[in-house]
């Protein structure tokens, strides 16, 4: 089955390709993959102190549908809060890109990547909170 026009459009002009500094505390990084086809997708979110996704970047090693799905995902998350972004479903990507059934897993990968990036960010924030408590302890003691 040929790719839909929207897939080709994203494939030829992918939005937001690139990387953020992984160690930036305001950046969440999600790397996910599909072992059956060997696709690997990295999606990064830059999240401000209000919990809003200001920017997103991706790098995907995979087929046209996987690249288009991650490209679209970066566009969808921008401006959303973390809570809103967690509600994004792969079916929205399927519909927008008119993905055929054999390529639905590409959209699942993009949804997983968003969730993984958010969880990475939340884990970083939690670790930061623990560290700041830990560094205060000697003072309290």
């Amino acid at each position: 089955m040929p790719y839909s026009e929207k897939v080709i459009e994203h494939y030829e002009n992918p939005r937001n390709v690139g990387s953020f500094d992984k160690s930036d505390p305001n950046v969440g990084t999600g790397i996910v993959g599909a072992p059956e086809c060997g696709d690997v997708m990295k999606l990064q979110l830059k999240i401000n102190d209000q919990g809003v996704i200001e920017d997103a970047k991706f790098k995907t090693f995979g087929c046209g549908s996987a690249i288009a799905s991650s490209s679209l995902a970066t566009e969808m998350v921008k401006g959303k809060t973390l809570e809103e972004a967690l509600l994004i479903k792969n079916t929205e990507i399927v519909q927008e890109l008119a993905l055929p059934p054999v390529k639905i897993h590409c959209s699942v990968l993009a949804e997983d990547a968003i969730k993984a990036a958010i969880h990475d960010f939340q884990a970083k924030q939690a670790a930061k909170a623990v560290t700041s408590v830990a560094t205060r302890e000697p003072v309290a003691a």
Binding site: I31, G33, P35, G38, V40, K42, K59, F61
Partner: protein, 196 residues
């Protein structure tokens, strides 16, 4: 000649059918395969009644499937995963989605070098190609070595299975290696295709 010919159990695992352990080596597997192939070979039962002939035909097909599946460590691992986890697909989804992150980082890094090389080739930038080629050749060697090591890792897990280690843990590890193989195979296909 056993009389009458006993049909093989349709619920037994391939290991049980062939009478081998999960960690059985090539020699043991092939030996059992030959014994059972001879026993069930349809030619041997050509003069028997129709029911026995059908049993012989079905059983020898089953023995062939079992042997083909278990001979390769990767298909052996996939068979174990399918059989042990077929009733709980949700369990596998999570572990399969989490292969080693350092592998992902390597794959993405290689992808960039590969794309750069492919672009250089399109633009006929010989100098860039010559600069990138050794890196890609080196990566190819590393990925090939990693791929070869996966079969050994599987064999070690099979041995632990027979030794009675925790099966859920082993299935998780088998799923991880099975997944890693998918990524490595893809990378190697791309590398071989590009480097020629």
């Amino acid at each position: 000649m056993p009389d009458p010919l006993q049909p093989l159990s349709s619920t037994a695992s391939y290991f049980e059918l062939l009478g081998v352990s999960v960690a059985a080596d090539d020699a043991a597997l092939t030996r059992r395969f030959h014994i059972l192939s001879r026993l069930y070979h349809p030619d041997r039962w050509a003069t028997a009644d129709a029911e026995t002939q059908t049993t012989a035909l079905d059983s020898s097909a089953l023995v062939n499937d079992a042997y083909r599946t278990l001979k390769d460590p990767f298909t052996r691992a996939e068979y174990l995963l399918r059989r042990e986890r077929s009733t709980r697909p949700d369990d596998t989804k999570d572990s399969a989605a989490k292969p080693p992150q350092e592998l992902f980082a390597q794959v993405l890094e290689l992808q960039e070098a590969l794309m750069e090389y492919q672009e250089a080739r399109l633009d006929e930038e010989k100098a860039t190609m010559a600069r990138l080629r050794p890196t890609l050749e080196e990566a190819k060697g590393e990925f090939e070595a990693a791929y070869a090591g996966l079969a050994d890792k599987l064999r070690a897990l099979f041995a632990r299975w027979d030794a009675g280690d925790d099966r859920e843990t082993l299935l998780d590890e088998l799923a991880g290696i099975s997944g890693t193989r998918g990524y490595l195979r893809r990378v190697l296909t791309n590398l071989n295709g590009t480097l020629g």
